[in-house]
């Protein structure tokens, strides 16, 4: 019997012996199997800044995992060898059921687990069970996603999540359809849900030359973030590098990132960053009140942290939004 997956907006109708569009949720004998549950294909220890999360436990190590599969098909995917394959196609599969995953994170001195690299939406059950166990031993749960998920499953998952960096790939439905194989509205809904459910939220926008670098669109996106998510929501503009099926475009020029950052700050966002550009002034956090350097960064490395222990500017005592302790 065919089944209908309700997890993401695709709502795939999956006949027996086939998978959803994500390649990893498979119908076996009329039951949908989460085939990569406890079977990650990538495990690394990353700094928090690599996620990127700049306002959540800065400088702490994060045990980061991913399984095969994804429910989007971005032409510029950075992890396509992982995300655009099913479990049966992977050379490397580790066995790490939730209790083992928690042990691995603790053994390696990590304070958090990040579900990342591909899109953890497609290994939802593994995230949920691992996150519940992680919570019990004081580990934080971080969800790095493109946010293409239905509202109710996300709302349930938010109960065990602590932070997310969610991609907002463009403020344009046509871009989502043509470049990512998705749609914009569910992603906006997901961002609002994270905010409503109290999960610490940062947003990343990868700027691709000629495709989503229009300043008027960036302005509209920044205003939407300001109005719907709050002016204190960190926004990361990230530099595109040609890869996978999008090798015909050049890397994003530095001036484009500078202009985007300025446009978003003009729209009222207070913490706007530039990523994938080493040593850029936009890597660091400044007080929106008096411009004091709060956290200096070079790449993923923190060069100085001047925040007070309770997350305030040392000069003007303004509270800086984030989860600092």
């Amino acid at each position: 019997m065919a089944v209908v997956c309700e997890l993401c907006p695709r709502e795939c109708v999956i006949p027996e012996g086939e998978a959803g569009d994500c390649r990893v949720r498979v119908n076996i004998d009329g039951r949908l199997r989460a085939s990569t549950y406890g079977r990650p294909s990538a495990m690394h220890i990353d700094p928090m800044e690599k996620k990127p999360l700049y306002h959540f436990h800065p400088g702490s190590p994060v045990f980061s995992i991913a399984t095969a599969g994804c429910n989007l098909h971005c032409l510029n995917c950075q992890n396509w060898q992982l995300s655009q394959r099913g479990g049966e196609e992977m050379e490397q599969i580790y066995r790490a059921d939730p209790p083992q995953l928690i042990e691995l994170a603790k053994e390696n001195g990590c304070e958090s687990i990040a579900y990342t690299y591909s899109d953890p939406i497609v290994f939802y059950e593994y995230v949920r069970d691992s996150s519940e166990l992680a919570r019990q031993v004081g580990l934080h749960n971080i969800f790095i996603t493109a946010g293409y998920i239905n509202r109710e499953p996300l709302r349930r998952l938010c109960r065990v999540l602590d932070a997310t960096n969610t991609d907002l790939k463009a403020f344009d439905d046509r871009f989502y359809r043509e470049v990512n194989g998705g749609t914009l509205k569910p992603v906006l809904d997901a961002l609002v849900t994270f905010r409503e459910e109290g999960v610490w939220l940062e947003v990343t926008n990868l700027i691709i030359p000629t495709l989503n670098d229009d300043l008027s669109m960036i302005r509209r996106m920044a205003k939407w973030i300001r109005d719907e998510l709050g002016e204190g929501t960190p926004l990361h503009f990230s530099r595109f590098h040609p890869q996978y099926r999008m090798r015909n475009l050049p890397p994003t020029p530095g001036e484009t990132l500078d202009r985007a950052r300025q446009e978003a700050m003009n729209a009222g966002l207070q913490y706007v960053y530039v990523g994938n550009v080493l040593g850029h002034v936009g890597n660091s956090t400044y007080c929106p009140e008096d411009g004091t350097l709060l956290i200096g960064r070079v790449g993923f490395h923190i060069t100085e942290n001047n925040l007070t222990p309770d997350g305030r500017c040392p000069s003007c005592n303004r509270p800086i939004p984030g989860v600092w302790q």
Binding site: A34, L75, E88, I93
Partner: protein, 75 residues
């Protein structure tokens, strides 16, 4: 232009036919690629089910039941 219209040759028909066939092949090829369009109602994706079952039986993949699905009602 005038000469071309009024002095149609068999070779011209063959050329037009060749161009049309090429376009048809391109359209068929593009149509066979996995669709990028998002939205609801996607159909299933065929996988190498024998390879899948082999790795499932070996424990390299999991049979853990998923959440968030329901049987499709027959019409």
């Amino acid at each position: 232009m005038h000469r071309w219209i009024y002095h149609w040759h068999r070779g011209d028909s063959l050329f037009i036919g060749w161009v049309a066939a090429t376009l048809l092949l391109v359209v068929l090829y593009l149509g066979s690629l996995p669709g990028l369009e998002g939205g609801g109602g996607s159909s299933g994706r065929r996988i190498d089910i024998e390879a899948f079952k082999t790795r499932l039986d070996a424990g390299e993949l999991s049979g853990h039941e998923a959440l968030w699905y329901h049987p499709k009602e027959e019409p």
